[in-house]
Each structure stands twice: as C-alpha cells, then as structure tokens.
C-alpha cells in the first residue's frame, strides 16, 4: 500500500492551490458578505477546464480521474466553501449522471458544453416534503405526445439560478412492487429558459452564502421526450448513484474547509500573544492543533480512498458515505476549535475561520445528512 501521491496528482494539487490562493481567496470574504455568486471565478475555472476534470476528453473534459477532481474541490474549499460546492454540484450532480446514463446524443448536446464549462449544471431531487425521505417526491412528469410535462417544485438547489442545465427527478407513474403500488421515479434533463420553468426566492443561508440556492418551479413545463435520462422508472437509482459521487465531492469540500481552518489557525497562534508569549507556546493550543491535524489527516485518507474507489470500483456507496460522514464531522469540529483558538477574533467576520465554521455546517446536512450516511454504512454491515 502506497500513500504517496503520483507526480500528476502532485502537479494538479499545485495548480489548484495556486489558483485558489491567487484567484479565489482574495474574493472569499466578499462573496460571503455580499452573498454574491462568483461568476468571474467560475468563468476562469471554465477556461482552465476545472468544470470537466473527470470527464473524458472526447466529451470536452480534461480526461483526469476522480481523485484529481476531489483535490480541486478540496483546494478551492480551503479558501472558499462557496467556490468548492459550485464545482462539486456541477461535476458530480449534473455531468456525472449524464456521462453515466446519457445517450450519445444527450452527451453531445449537454455533457460536452458542461465539461467545457460553457454551461453550468445543477441537480434537483429535494422537495419541501422529500428531503432525507427522497421517495416522497411530488413533482410529476406526464408524457404528452412527444413531450414530458413537468409539474411541481424542487427546493434548496445548489447553482439554482446560475445553472443552464438541470437534472430533475420526477414521478412518472405508479407501479406494483411486491404487491404494493409504489411511485415510479424517472430522471430528466431540463434546460434553463424552457417555458414553465421558473425560480422561487433565493434562500438566505448560514454559510456557503455565495452559492446560488433557489427553488425550481415547474408549471406545465414541456420538455422533449428524448430528455428522459436513463430508462423510465430508473430515476431513483440514478439519483442514489449520483449522490454517491456527490458525497465524495462534499467530503472533499468538508476536508478543504477543515484544512483551511487548521492552516489559518496555525498561522494565528504563532502571531497572537497573550501573557507575554505566542499562544502557540501553550500546551493547550499544541494539543488542540495535534488533534485537529490528526483528524484532518484521517479524513483525507477516507476521502481519497473514496475517490480512488470511484475510479476503480463499480459501487462505492459505503466508501463515499464514510468519507462524507467523517469529513463533515471533522470539518465542523476543526472549524469550531479554530474559532475557539482565535478567541474573540474568531467570532468576528473579518477572520476567515468564522466563515469556515458557518460553511462547514452544511456539509453535515446536504447530499445526505450524517444520519443518512450512518444508515448507508450500517445497512451494508447488516445486510
């Protein structure tokens, strides 16, 4: 077992770190404070291929692997949780299902511009009444001639109003399963600008405040018949598989936030003086940092392992769930400790750790709460 990164991954990390430090970090505080979607940064990332890292070159991507993409989200999130999740939602939740389940026509029409960064992607599964209980979908799609007619709404959608292409999960009928009637769920590709597709209000969030989080509303929204993604009735499986990949992205975001908070705190405790010496000289500080660093390292191993599993294994649900569960909880713990070690300054919005702590909280909630991850993991143990 070799834990050293390959040359290409080392070089990729250098690239992502340089970009994050030079282009993303200077804007992070303002993006948060003004709740502004960092469009300029997204355009720069598109130009550099950051929006198609694991997508094959023949579909406009960079032809790299899931680990490279994971490191990109990690390095961006070290300095800005908002920018990290923009890349994660676009890549894992929109590009990936089209790459995995799309027809050749769908890939050419949608995956190519997404991977090139000409278009931004989003994914709509969650509804007001269907969060963790994803089966509780209400949005319906009815086939009418050559078109599907969508009615319903999706909430808390990342990249909401800024995206161009959306994966939308909807009920297409009722089917009998083991003697019971259950909802038949399918997946669709919906383009922004389709008549009947509008946006609700923008959510005001605790963290990742520059991320565009909106409700998607479908009112007799007619999309072409060929925009069904995968087979009719396979939508739930597509959504779950998509979330497996998405969880690796969010785990990487959580890891980045924890690393960013740790790095910032190490610098701070060297500078901050109390009782005549740097607070880093106190054993309490040293022990806190040691615990933070150890947990961050453990999270990193789980996240990278999940990314490697996505590259080499057919299923990686458990690896993704473990990585997300652990990294998210580490992010929350480490950012909270970082604020504590900053003392009063940690509570002031001028200091990055304050934002990082707010950003970290969502990683325990979206793309499956920590409780859902525990269900996935324990389900695999007890089956």
């Amino acid at each position: 077992m070799d834990f050293t990164l390959s040359k290409k991954h080392e070089m990729a990390r250098t690239l992502f770190r340089d970009f994050a430090q030079n282009e993303v970090k200077p804007l992070a505080q303002d993006v948060d404070e003004t709740e502004t979607f960092p469009r300029e940064t997204v355009d720069k990332m598109a130009k550099l291929g950051f929006l198609g890292i694991p997508i094959p070159k023949e579909y406009g991507g960079q032809g790299c692997d899931p680990l490279t993409y994971t490191m990109c989200v990690e390095e961006l999130s070290k300095v800005c949780g908002t920018t990290g999740v923009i890349v994660s939602a676009h890549t894992s939740l929109c590009c990936d299902p089209i790459q995995t389940y799309g027809t050749e026509e769908q890939k050419q029409k949608y995956l190519v511009p997404l991977a090139k960064g000409e278009k931004l992607g989003a994914f709509g599964l969650t509804e007001p009444g269907a969060g963790t209980d994803a089966q509780g979908q209400q949005t319906k799609a009815v086939l009418d001639g050559d078109e599907w007619v969508l009615n319903g709404s999706k909430c808390f959608i990342t990249n909401g109003k800024e995206a161009d292409i959306y994966i939308v999960i909807a009920i297409t009928g009722m089917v009998e399963k083991r003697g019971r009637m259950t909802k038949e769920i399918s997946a669709f590709i919906v383009e922004k600008g389709t008549p009947g597709f509008t946006f609700g209000t923008k959510e005001k969030k605790m963290g990742i405040r520059g991320s565009s989080t909106y409700e998607l509303i479908f009112t007799d929204c007619r999309i072409p018949k060929e925009n069904l993604l995968g087979a009719k009735g396979k939508g739930f499986g597509i959504a779950m598989h998509t979330l497996d990949g998405g969880r690796i992205g969010i785990a990487a975001q959580a890891l980045g936030l924890a690393e960013g908070a740790l790095e910032t705190t190490i610098e701070y405790v060297k500078e901050r003086k109390q009782f005549g010496r740097a607070i880093g000289a106190f054993q309490n500080t040293q022990f806190q940092l040691a615990d933070m660093a150890t947990r961050v390292e453990a999270a990193k191993l789980l996240v990278y392992k999940a990314a490697m599993a996505k590259a080499t294994q057919k299923t990686y649900s458990v690896e993704a769930a473990q990585a997300k569960l652990y990294a998210a909880e580490v992010a929350m713990e480490v950012t909270t400790k970082a604020v504590q070690l900053h003392g009063g300054y940690g509570y002031i919005r001028e200091y990055d750790v304050e934002r990082m702590m707010r950003d970290a909280k969502i990683t325990e909630i979206y793309e499956g709460t920590s409780e859902v991850q525990r269900m996935v993991i324990s389900g695999s143990l007890l089956k």
Partner: protein, 260 residues
C-alpha cells in the same frame, strides 16, 4: 514557426536558500519554481503558438529534477521538453551555461529563441545575449511586447523611461521581462498529458561545437569567493519627535555611526 524557450528551475525564495561548501547553490535541497522571466517568455511563445500554430520546445539545463519545470511548461501547452543534464556541466556560470545551451540548440531547427531576461538566483541577465552571440544571431533584450510579422519579430524593448520598437529578421533571440504578460495556469488535462510525453534528455555528448574547457565549474571564468544567505536586519528604532528635534536626533545618530 519553431520556437525554443530556455527556462531555468530556480529556488523558490519563499523556501529559504541553501549553499554547497564551494559557494554554489545546493539546488537539490531547495524548493523550486520556474524562473518568472522565463515563464513570461514561455507564455509569449504559447501566445504565438495560439496565434500562428508554432511548435514550442522548452529547453533547460540542470539537475535531473529540473525535469519538473519542463513538465510544467508542457502542462501549460509547450510541445516538447529537452533536459540537458550531465555531471560535467555542474557549477556552470553564465559563460559555461550559455555555451551548453547554444551547444544543445545547434541540434534544433528554430525561428525564434526566447529566454527570460535574468534568473532570480543569479540576476546577471547574461545568458540570453551570450547564447545569441554563440549562435551568431541577433538579440533583442528586455522585451515588454513581442509580435511576429512575416519573417520578422517586432519587439518593444523596455528602458527605464521609454521603450524602443525594434524589428529583427528571424532567426533571432529575445529576452523577456516578467511584466511581458500574465502567464497562464497549467490545465488538469495538460498535466496528465505532459506526464505521458517523453522528455528528451541530453548530456555532454549531445552538445554540438563546444569545447570541454568552456563547460561546467572548470570552464566557468566566474569564481565564487563566498556566498551567504541574506543577513536579517534588526528591527530598527522608532521615534516620534517634532521635525526640528527629529533632524538633530538623526544627525547625531548618523555621526555616531560614522555615516557622515
């Protein structure tokens, strides 16, 4: 059009400097980057490639780990990388370096050679012009803008308070300033591709028309008597006085320290 860009792996000034006992830099022990002026030269070449479809070859002389700057250049978009590395070439000053690089370039077809103005570790600004001298081609140094028109290159040559527009027939050599442009980032796909490509590795035997007496430490007219890291200055002294008192305080201090 064929462009050769000479790049140098230099110490990353953020990482501290280490020396060998003979006073030369211990390059193996330091964090390194691509020299900023060279990176601007590379970017200029890549822009000409974008515009005219040029073939860009990056050339470096150094330790085997100098391969890293070639990979970086190729991940940015350069087509080929050549590493000149050989024990007999170690410890070279500007004369021996330019002799070596010219000896390597004689193997290549080129219309334009671009080097950085100077490297941040030596700051001599001699290697580029010396290469042109060895090869017998014109040089335009301190380029703040490079354009190609037909078989000529048009360069804005920077001075302190003005610039000259100089036109030269290719082949010629141009030395680039860091402020020439904002070098592009690598791309993730470019990184993966660069590691699939072969780097050409040359040694002394591959150098054309060079004399051993002009190579390496032995062939370097420059002898380093002593080198040391930058000595940190003290924190200084801050005083708040009214102007009249301040002047006499300052004069006293300068007299005390025999400055005046």
């Amino acid at each position: 059009m064929k462009i050769v860009v000479c790049v140098k792996q230099v110490p990353d000034t953020k990482g501290g400097v280490k020396f060998n006992p003979d006073g030369t830099l211990d390059r193996g022990a330091m964090l390194t980057i691509m020299n900023p002026d060279d990176k601007a030269g590379l970017e200029a070449a890549l822009r000409l490639k974008d515009q005219y479809g040029a073939e860009v070859t990056v050339l470096t002389m150094g330790l085997p780990k100098a391969e890293d700057v070639l990979r970086e250049a190729m991940a940015m978009g350069a087509d080929n990388g050549i590493l000149v590395t050989d024990r007999v070439l170690g410890g070279a000053d500007t004369w021996a370096t330019s002799t070596t690089l010219a000896g390597a370039i004689r193997n290549l077809e080129y219309d334009l050679i671009i080097t950085g103005r100077q490297a941040i570790d030596g700051d001599t600004a001699q290697v580029g012009p010396q290469i042109s001298e060895h090869l017998g081609i014109p040089v335009i140094s301190y380029a703040q803008d490079i354009k190609v028109e037909g078989d000529s290159v048009i360069v804005e040559r920077q001075y302190e308070d003005r610039y000259h527009v100089v036109k030269a027939k290719m082949p010629c050599l141009v030395t680039a300033l860091a402020e020439l442009n904002e070098p592009r980032y690598m791309t993730p796909g470019g990184i993966f591709d660069s590691l699939e490509k072969e780097i050409t590795v040359w040694g002394r035997a591959n150098l054309v028309d060079v004399d051993d007496s002009n190579l390496g430490l032995a062939g370097s007219p420059t002898k380093i008597a002593k080198a040391s890291d930058k000595v940190r200055k003290g924190t200084g002294e801050k005083v708040t006085l009214d102007p009249e008192e301040a002047v006499s305080y300052l004069m006293n201090k300068l007299t005390e320290k025999h400055v005046i």
